[in-house]
């Protein structure tokens, strides 16, 4: 991103290269719709919504050029609360719908809102394909590690053994790590943030918008009704600094004040006391490495659960976008074959004959 001025035209996010700019100085309230917000009291979705509405003015694009596409789930009600264009589609299919929209309309800023069920259970396939294709969309996955809307069954990110309505003796499933999965699916931009840290959420949104192509953002989101305090260790002021690994490109990877990340024998990342290993042994975060192996290694650091949880941008690597390449092919074909009466020429292509 070239020097963002925080608002209005000229913000120049990379994913918005083809989107018109506006001079309107939007405020957060300009992105609130007239619909009453309907989540449970205390739901983490409120915080994410506020952060998102607060961030949108920064994009510097006309409100009408922003589209939010969601699936089904509590999280997927998001579009109703934004004064942009929106589609609250069907369960799991938002990445596919957004693909068609983004590929045909490079002048739009397209955001996909999904949940751990919507995006990783029924919609897992569309998600991984959208990521590998690098369609210019931003996917925000609200991970509350539970099915909220259907009242509390375990999800593909619920911890093994979790007792829920549908798993009275504990779930049998090993959960996905959404970041690992996205990296395994060739995602060019992968990040993670936490609902309650508005500043961090905003910084990650900014980075996502600045990535041309598919951006994948996992947002840890609390569901106070069916999975309360799932992320408590990362929020508790006494604990969180021992656990959160805030990744900043170019900076050493540190956990708390006195520990940092070093590399093990087989490339795995480990936390060590800085005093012991020395400052220089710490890995400097490099989100731009072409090889996703390092980002993948980072994604494995939260085992066992929440021991160390990297947040921020794991990977931010450019490659041509699907929609960009599609537009190029169309342009190239037009150059090569333009200049005729196209429809008439098409209809009478091939062997023809005339009857008088």
């Amino acid at each position: 991103m070239s020097e963002s001025n925080g608002n209005g035209a000229g913000a120049g996010f990379k994913s918005l290269r083809l989107v018109p700019r506006t001079d309107t100085e939007y405020k957060m309230k300009d992105f609130k719709s007239d619909q009453e917000v309907r989540w449970c009291p205390g739901c983490g979705d409120y915080a994410i919504l506020a952060a998102f509405q607060g961030f949108l003015p920064e994009l510097g694009v006309p409100r009408e050029n922003i589209v939010i596409v969601s699936g089904i789930g509590c999280s997927s009600r998001f579009p109703y609360y934004l004064s942009t264009y929106g589609m609250h589609s069907i369960h799991g299919r938002a990445p596919a719908i957004a693909t068609g929209l983004a590929a045909s309309r490079p002048d739009l800023s397209v955001w996909v809102i999904t949940g751990d069920g919507d995006g990783l259970s029924i919609g897992g396939n569309h998600l991984i394909h959208a990521l590998r294709r690098n369609v210019n969309i931003n996917v925000l996955l609200f991970n509350n590690r539970i099915y909220g809307l259907t009242k509390g069954q375990y999800s593909p990110t619920s911890e093994a053994g979790k007792v829920t309505k549908s798993s009275p003796m504990g779930s049998l499933d090993t959960p996905f790590n959404p970041v690992s999965l996205a990296l395994g699916a060739e995602a060019g931009f992968v990040a993670r943030t936490v609902d309650s840290d508005r500043k961090h959420v905003t910084s990650v949104l900014r980075a996502a918008a600045d990535h041309e192509g598919a951006s994948f953002v996992e947002i840890y989101q609390n569901c106070p009704i069916f999975n309360d305090d799932a992320f408590e260790p990362l929020k508790d002021p006494g604990e969180r600094d021992m656990r959160l690994l805030r990744m900043e490109h170019g900076e050493p990877l540190r956990v708390g004040g006195d520990r940092g990340v070093v590399q093990g024998d087989y490339g795995e990342l480990q936390v060590a006391d800085v005093a012991e290993v020395g400052e220089d042994a710490l890995l400097r975060h490099d989100a731009h490495r072409a090889d996703p192996g390092y980002a993948f290694a980072l994604s494995r650091m939260d085992y066992p659960a929440f021991e160390h949880v990297p947040i921020g941008v794991f990977r931010d690597v450019d490659r041509p976008t699907y929609d960009g390449r599609m537009a190029e092919q169309l342009a190239q074909a037009r150059t090569e074959r333009g200049g005729q009466d196209e429809l008439a020429a098409l209809l009478s292509s091939g062997d023809t004959w005339t009857v008088d």
Binding site: V69, H88, S89, S104, T354, D356
Partner: protein, 615 residues
């Protein structure tokens, strides 16, 4: 030696061989020659589901049937007058279809013990009298081709491969076909390989001269050009015609075409064809599955494109949920189902008409969708345009029911002048002058269509989705009265299209037929040919064919009731019949055959006559 030339009015030829023998190409070329000569024609390719089943086996047999005539014809023909059999498997697989007296040209080189045994021939049928009903020409096609190409610096395999060109040359001579098209085709096909090109041309010419010189072929035939309406023609398959129709629909409506599709037989060729027209702004997206295909098309439609998805049965059912979303969001969307034999995977390369009720009812809730069906390969063009018209005018998904027979079959098509095509231009919603609030579910009083407000339009920001909408505002609504209203409004919108489509035309030449034969979709040709036979034999029968299956034309009920008996032939177990009976309480008679093949004209003629006799 000057040979006799015999005038005939029509002929049905079937080329049959191994999947690797290039029969589809041979048939295609012969068809093009025939088309450019000006005959009317109709074709029926028939290939195995396997890519290339083991050589010389029955499942590996691939065939191509062509019917051409000096008058207008309607079907690829019931039974071939001429069979070209490249090996024992091809003979065995096809001989039962031959009428007594048919000509059989066999490639004797392939009639080895091993090949015969492979298909269960205990004795060589060329040696005993099992083919005595037919005129059999024994031609060592392979060896003659190899011999003709001795001079060329190509592999033996390559010379053997050219035997289909030898056969094409021979048949071209037999039927006095013009050859420039084929020569031109070979030139462009083998443009990078001059030696192969020369060899193929030589094989073709050798076949021609063989016909001219050998005693075996005493007669050649002439089928005069048909007297077709004046205009420029080309031969076209249904899949090509649908593709062109979609491109035309896009151009005529001003909506850029977006195809979201996942390959599936027999629909894939539409994806292939459309992917070649990027210069006309056509975007094709090969999706990860059928759901993503339709989803992307719907997303594009939301963005103002002409969203299209193409598939066949097993993929069609996967699209049902997204189609429901399109019904609820009331966005235009074209869904092309090239029907194949089901249920389940069924017989992918065989044709059927058994997806009609699924198209009508295959979604949860009350989810009405217009359904249209082409009646011949070239009609696919017009139907695609009609579907575009309905979808964009009424803001609704439209299902087009083509089928495997239409998709791969071909016929001459009089190319329309672009200026004669309808104007389908679309009005997107624009901000109201008075700055009033935008109401995405306010309906047009006449069409009941809602406004199509495209992202990027200032002031029209709105949210749509699959939850029930409040009339007018489009906000989520759980109101019982509103739901009832919306369910009925969506239905009324689709029902209302009946006012905007042509009435059913009944062809009743004598005006006093007592029996009406009513069909839909790909059976038009066979029904027409059957009816023609009956009429020729003095029978009186009316014929009508439905293009619009939902809603029906307004006069359909009256039309049904004005005949004593209504016969409805279908390649399913009576799906249209069921709709008619329910809607009009008319005791229509279904005639069904579910064999994966088009009806035969003769068979239908018999059935029609029976019904007439019973009245």
């Amino acid at each position: 030696m000057t040979k006799q030339v015999q005038q005939i009015d029509r002929v049905i030829i079937r080329f049959a061989g191994d999947s690797g023998d290039g029969m589809q190409l041979t048939g295609d070329r012969f068809t093009q020659e025939t088309a450019s000569f000006g005959n009317d024609l109709s074709t029926l390719p028939n290939f195995p589901a396997e890519i290339r089943a083991p050589a010389g086996t029955l499942p590996g047999v691939s065939s191509f049937q062509l019917h051409f005539a000096d008058h207008d014809i309607m079907t690829p023909g019931d039974a071939p007058n001429v069979l070209v059999a490249m090996n024992p498997a091809a003979l065995k697989a096809n001989v039962d279809d031959l009428p007594r007296g048919a000509t059989v040209i066999v490639n004797t080189d392939e009639f080895t013990k091993r090949s015969l045994a492979k298909v269960g021939y205990e004795a060589d049928p060329l040696a005993d009298d099992s083919l005595s009903e037919f005129k059999v020409s024994r031609v060592p096609l392979t060896s003659m081709t190899v011999k003709a190409l001795e001079e060329f610096d190509i592999s033996k395999k390559d010379s053997q491969r050219a035997k289909n060109m030898f056969a094409l040359g021979l048949l071209s001579w037999m039927y006095n076909r013009p050859t420039e098209g084929t020569l031109g085709f070979l030139k462009s096909k083998f443009s990078g390989k001059p030696e192969i090109l020369a060899a193929n041309v030589a094989a073709f010419e050798a076949g021609w001269s063989f016909g001219e010189t050998t005693e075996d072929f005493a007669v050649s035939y002439e089928v005069k050009p048909a007297r077709l309406p004046s205009g420029t023609y080309r031969n076209i398959t249904g899949n090509a015609a649908i593709s062109y129709g979609l491109v035309a629909g896009s151009q005529l409506s001003g909506l850029p075409l977006f195809l979201g599709s996942y390959p599936i037989t027999p629909a894939s060729d539409i994806l292939h064809e459309l992917s070649r027209h990027k210069h006309m702004g056509v975007r094709t997206f090969q999706a990860e599955d059928e759901i993503a295909g339709v989803g992307a098309a719907l997303g594009a439609a939301f963005g103002g494109s002409l969203g299209v998805t193409t598939t066949s049965g097993p993929g069609m059912v996967l699209k049902a949920e997204s189609l429901g979303l399109a019904v609820m969001t009331e966005l235009p969307l074209l869904v092309i189902d090239v029907q194949r034999a089901g249920p389940s995977t069924g017989m992918p390369t065989k044709t059927e008409q058994a997806d009609l009720l699924m198209a009508m009812f295959g979604r949860n809730g009350e989810s009405p969708v217009p359904v249209v069906a082409p009646q011949s390969p070239s009609d696919c063009f017009d139907v695609a345009i009609e579907a575009t018209r309905i979808a964009s005018k009424y803001r609704t998904p439209v299902i087009v029911l083509s089928d495997g027979y239409l998709a791969n079959g071909s016929e001459p098509w009089r190319i329309p002048a672009v200026a004669d095509l309808p104007d389908l231009s679309v009005d997107f919603a624009s901000p109201s002058e008075d700055g009033g609030e935008f109401r995405p579910y306010d309906r047009d009083p006449e069409t009941l269509a809602r406004p199509w407000a495209v992202p990027g339009t200032p002031g029209l920001e709105h949210r749509i989705g699959g939850i029930e909408k409040s009339d007018g505002t489009g906000n989520i609504s759980y109101s019982p009265a509103n739901h009832d209203l919306m369910v009925r409004s969506r239905q009324a919108k689709i029902d209302g299209i009946a006012r905007d489509i042509p009435e059913l035309e009944v062809d009743d030449p004598t005006g006093d037929a007592e029996v009406l034969v009513l069909g839909w979709g790909g059976t038009y040709g066979s029904i027409g040919a059957g009816v023609r036979r009956v009429r020729r034999a003095g029978g009186k029968v009316a014929q009508a064919h439905l293009r619009h299956l939902n809603p029906f034309p307004q006069n359909l009920g009256a039309a049904l009731r004005s005949y004593d008996r209504v016969l409805v032939p279908e390649i399913n177990l009576g799906q249209l019949a069921m709709l008619l009976r329910s809607k009009y309480l008319v005791d229509v008679i279904g005639y069904t055959k579910v064999r994966g093949l088009p009806f035969k004209a003769e068979e239908l003629a018999g059935v029609v006559q029976e019904v007439i006799d019973r009245v």
